[in-house]
Symmetry: D2
Subunit: 332 residues, 4 copies
C-alpha cells in the first residue's frame, strides 16, 4: 500500500489530491494518507472532497504508515519540508521551485542524496501528451540533431501585484517552466543566457520591480540555440507553444482550442480561443505526472525531473534575472 | 439520494458505471444501486471496479431504494426492460435503439407515458462539447436559417460479420446516430429519404446482406436538405464531422487529433491521426450525457433526447434501409 | 505559328485572351488571330487590351492563317460555332456547355469526329493545381480504390433572375462542374442519380422555376458513391471543396483563404474569408487549361476533357434536373 | 511615358524585368528603356525575353529618354550606380543592400538628397500580401500596442560557400530582411541588439567565418521586444513566418503550402511542404513592390522603404554581426 500525504490544499494541491483520489479508486494499493494545510478550512474542505482525513505535515512525516509526500504548499516552505521528508525516508514530490535560492536548493539536494529517497520535481509540462510526444519524436530522430528551439508562453492575465512581489520575478516564477522545457528539448545544458524584459502590460508590475514581457536567448556549448518569450497577458487564452528545428525537419506542438467548432461568415473563419489556463491545458499533464511520481514512489523508476533538474532551471532563471537587470549576458 | 442500477456490464455499461462512480465520489446524494448483467463474471468485474454490489435487474426494479435504471444491455432486451422499469416507477436511461421495430417502440412509449417516468435515450453525440456548441450557435442565430446539413461518419474498422448479422444493418446500427444528429441540427423533421449503399469494404458484409458504405439525402417539408455519408472503415481514425450551411454563414465541427504535434519534412507537414474510436472521441460526451440524465432523474428537467427522438431516428433508419433496397425514395 | 481567334469578349473570353497574350509574349510561335464579339465595343476593348485585331467569327473561320478558335460566346451559339470551326479544320476550345440539349451535343460531336479536329471542353476545375494534384494522387494509388466522393460547391451570391431564367437551371448551369469533377474523381460512370433541390436563398429563383440549394447522390455500376451539394450563396466566399474516401485513406482539397493572416483575440482565432469567386480561385486553372489546349492544338496530345466529357456531364445534369422535379431517381 | 532601364540581368533582375514587361503590356505610358548587364549574354537573353533593347548602364543614365533605373546588379556596384543615377536625375529602385558599409550608405544618401530624386529600396517582403495585410491590421489597431514581435525565417538550403564568403555574413545577407521586417512591425527603432550564431548546418560555412543558424533579440526605447531566428536550411520549404503580440491580441502570418491537398492515412494527416523558395513565395510581393516604385517614379508618392530604411536595417545587421562575434549586446 502506497499512502501519500498531500501537504498544501491550494489550487495545485487540489489538482493533485483529486488525481490521487481518482487513481486510488481504480487500484487497491494506493491511498491518500491525509491532507495538510496551514489553513484549517482549506485542509478540511479538500479532505472532505477526496474522502481523506485532515492531518498535519508533522504527523504525516512522523507516521510509519505514510510512505510519500506531495508538497504543494507555499514556495518558502518547500526546502524545509523536503529535508524533513527526506530524513523521514518518504518519497517526495515537490512542486517547482524547490527554493528561490540556488544555494539552498543545493543544500536540500545534499540532504536528499544522503537519505536515498526519490525527489521528483513538478515540472508538469514535460508530461503534457503533446510535448511528451514531441520529445519522444526528437529522441526517435525524426528531426535529426536539434538546432533551434522556440518556446512561446503567454499567461491569460497577470497575477495580482501582491503575488508578483513575492514571486521572485517573471524569470523565476513564470519562465522557469520554459527553462525546464528548453533543457528538455535541447538535450544539452545552456551555457550562455541573454535576456530582455519590459513592463508593458501593467505599470504596477514595473513599479514593483518586475517585468511582464520578456524574451531570452540561450546557447549551449555545441552551439544549439533556444529562444523563449513570455507575456503575462494574452487576450486569446493560455498560449503554450513549442517548436524544434532540426537537421531533418521541424516539430511543433500548438495550442488546444476550446472546441473544434469554426464559424465562417463575411468576417472570416473564426475558431475558438485556446484553453483558458493551466487547469484545462495541463489537466492530462498533471495526471500523467502523478503516475510518473507513483512509479518512483514504488521504486519502479528513478525520478525525472529530479532535484538536479529543479536546480538547473533555477540557475537559468537566476541568470536571466541578472542578465535582464544588467543588460549583459550571463555565462554558466 | 439518487440510487441507480446499471443493467449491462459490457463496453457501454462500463463507461456509464465509471462515470457514475466518479460523479458519486463528488457528491453525497448519488450512488450506484448495483451492477446487473446476464453474464455473472461481467457484472462481478465491473461491480468490483466501481465499488458497487452485484444485483439482478429484477431485484433492482423491485427495490424501493433504487430510483433509476441505466439500461446498457443487448438491444433485444431494451423494450422489455423499459416497460418493466416504467411500471416500477424508475427514471430510465436507455442506450439507443429502444428496439429495431418502430411498432415495438411505439408500444413502449405508451407504457412510459402512462407511468409518467422520464425516459432518456442515449444519443451521446448531442452532448459532445463540439457538436453541442455548434448546435448552441445555430440556436443563437449565428448562421441564420439552416439550409444544408452535411454529416460524415466513418468508423475505423468494420465490426465482425457476426455482429453485422444481428445489427439491423448499417442504417439502423451506425447511421442511426447521424439521423439523430440531422434532426438535431435541422430543427425540422425530414419528410423524404433517398439512400444508396454498397459493400466496398468487406465482401463478407455484402454476403451477409448489409452494406458498409452508404449515403443518404434527406429533405424536410420546408426544403432544408441533409446529406449523410458512412463508411465502416477509415484508415486515419474515427471520422466524425458535421457542418451546417445557413443563410448567414457556415458552422462546422471537425475531428480531434491525437496530439497537437506536427512534423515538417521534405515529405510535407504531418499531423496525427484523429482519435481512434468512440471511447476517446466521445469520452466527454458520455460524461455530459450522464449529467443530463441525472438532472432528469432528479426531476430538474425533461428528458432530451427522449423516446420520441428514439422513435424518429428509428423511422428514418427504417426508411433509409427500405430506400436503399428498393432504389426508390421513401416519404414519411 | 499557332494563331488563335477568340470568339466572345465577355468575362470568360477576357480571361482566356489575357492568358493567351501572356503566353504569346513568352514564345515566338503563338499569336492571337483576333477578337470577335457580337458587341463591337466589347471586341474593340478587349482587342486593344491584348494588342490584337478585331475580327469577325466568319473571317476567322475563313482565314487559312487562323489555326484554332477559342469559343467563349453565349451558350446558344456554341454548337453552331463548333460545327463551323470543325468544318473549317480549326482546333477548337469551347467553354462548357456545348449545348443545353444532349441531342444537339451528339450531333455536334458527329461533325467534329468527321472533321478530325480536336475539341477541348473548358471544364477548368480539372486544371486547378489543388484538384489536379489530388487526382494525380488518386491515380498514384495513395488512397487505394475510390469509394466515396464528396463535393461541396457554393457560389458567393446568386446571379440575377434574368440569368437564372435562361441558364437551364442550377443542375445544368452550376452543378455541371461538379458532375464533371465527380466523373473525374470516381474514374467510373455514374448509373443512378438522386437529386433534391429547394429555393431557400431567393424566392424569386423559386418563382422562376429553379432551385438555389441542391444535393445529389450518384452511384456507379461498381457501387462507388458520390455526393454533391450546391448553394447559390455563401457569405464567407466561393466555397470549393472536394474529398475522396478510398480503401487506404482520404484525400481532400480545401479552400484558399485571401491571406494567411490570423487574428487572435478574446473572440477567438479569425482567418480570412476564402477567395471571393472563380476569377481568383481558378486563375491558375485557366492558365493551365489554356496550356493543355495549346498542346492539343499543336497536335501534341489528345483533348481532355473532350466532347464526350461535355456530353456525359450534360446527361448527368439532365438526369438530376429530372430527378429533382419528379422526386424519383434516374437510371442512366 | 515612364521609361525604365533595368541594370542587372541576374535572377532578381529577371523578376523585375518580367514584371515591368507585364505592366507595360497593360498600359501605354510605361516601357523598358533597356536591359544592361556586365555579362553581354545575360543582357541579351533577358532583353529578348521581355522585348527590350540591350543597353549599357552609362547610356541609360546619359539618355534624357530614360526616367528611372532599376538596379539589380551585384551589391558592390549599388552605391556608385545610385550616385550616378541620382546625379543624372533618374528615379531609383535599388535592391538591398545599398552597400555593406553604413558609412558608404550615408554618403550615397547625401547625394540622393541633394539630387532630389526618389530612392526606393527593394525590401520586397513589406509588399507580400500577407505581411502587408498584417501590418495594415496593426495600424488599424486590431491588436493594440505592439509588445512582442517574433520572426522566423529559414532558407531551404544554404548557398555555396563561395557566395557566403562575399555576402557580408548571415546577419547582413539573410537576416537583413528580418531586421527591416522587425522595424516595419515594431513601428519603433531598436536600441539594443543581442545576437548568437552557430555553424550547425554546414561546417564549411563555419570555416569561412560565418554562421548558418542564428537568433537575435531586439529592444526598442519604449521596451518593445523582437525576436528573430534564421537557419540556412529547412527541409520542408522556405519558412517565412511573422507574429505580433499586442495588448489586444495576436496577429500572425503563416507559410503558404504548395497545394491545399491533404492526405489522411494511418500515418496521420499530411499537407504539402511550403512553397520552396522566394521566387514562389514572394512572386506577388515583387509585383506589388514594383507598382509601389512606379508610383514613386511618377511622383505620386514618396518612396517607402527608402534609403533611410536601407541604412537602418544595415546598422542593425552590423550591430548583430558585432554582437554575435563579441558575445556582448550592442547599443544603438
Amino acid at each position: 500500500m502506497l499512502s501519500i500525504a498531500v501537504i498544501g490544499a491550494g489550487r495545485i494541491g487540489q489538482i493533485h489530491a483529486s488525481n490521487l483520489a481518482a487513481r486510488a479508486s481504480e487500484r487497491g494499493d494506493l491511498k491518500i494518507f491525509g491532507i495538510a494545510d496551514a489553513v484549517d478550512a482549506a485542509a478540511t474542505a479538500l479532505a472532505a472532497r477526496v474522502g481523506a482525513p485532515v492531518v498535519t505535515a508533522e504527523a504525516a512525516l512522523a507516521s510509519p504508515d505514510c510512505n510519500a509526500v506531495l508538497i504543494a504548499s507555499p514556495t518558502d516552505t518547500h526546502a524545509d519540508l523536503i529535508e524533513q521528508a527526506a530524513r523521514a525516508g518518504k518519497a517526495i514530490f515537490c512542486e517547482k521551485p524547490v527554493d528561490l535560492s540556488a544555494e539552498r536548493i543545493r543544500a536540500v539536494m545534499g540532504v536528499v542524496k544522503d537519505s536515498g529517497v526519490p525527489l521528483f520535481i513538478g515540472f508538469n509540462r514535460r508530461f503534457d501528451p503533446n510535448f511528451a510526444s514531441l520529445k519522444a519524436r526528437i529522441d526517435d530522430g525524426q528531426v535529426g540533431d536539434v538546432e533551434l528551439v522556440t518556446i512561446l508562453s503567454r499567461d491569460p492575465t497577470p497575477p495580482p501585484v501582491s503575488y508578483i512581489e513575492r514571486s521572485g520575478g517573471l524569470f523565476r516564477d513564470m519562465m522557469i517552466h520554459d527553462f525546464d522545457m528548453a533543457r528538455f528539448l535541447l538535450g544539452e545544458e545552456p551555457v550562455e543566457v541573454h535576456a530582455v524584459g519590459s513592463s508593458l502590460v501593467d505599470p504596477a508590475i514595473g513599479a514593483a520591480g518586475d517585468v511582464d514581457t520578456a524574451a531570452v536567448l540561450l546557447r549551449t556549448a555545441s552551439g544549439k540555440i533556444a529562444q523563449i518569450s513570455n507575456s503575462r497577458r494574452a487576450t486569446y487564452g493560455y498560449d503554450q507553444r513549442v517548436e524544434v528545428h532540426g537537421a531533418k525537419g521541424l516539430l511543433r506542438a500548438g495550442n488546444i482550442h476550446e472546441t473544434s467548432v469554426e464559424l465562417a461568415t463575411g468576417g472570416g473563419f473564426t475558431a475558438d480561443p485556446v484553453q483558458p489556463f493551466f487547469l484545462e491545458r495541463y489537466a492530462a499533464a498533471y495526471r500523467l505526472e502523478l503516475d510518473a511520481f507513483l512509479a518512483c514512489a514504488r521504486g519502479e523508476k528513478a525520478p525525472s525531473p529530479d532535484g538536479e533538474d529543479g536546480l538547473k532551471a533555477q540557475l537559468l532563471a537566476d541568470a536571466a534575472t541578472a542578465a535582464a537587470q544588467s543588460g549583459q549576458p550571463v555565462r554558466l
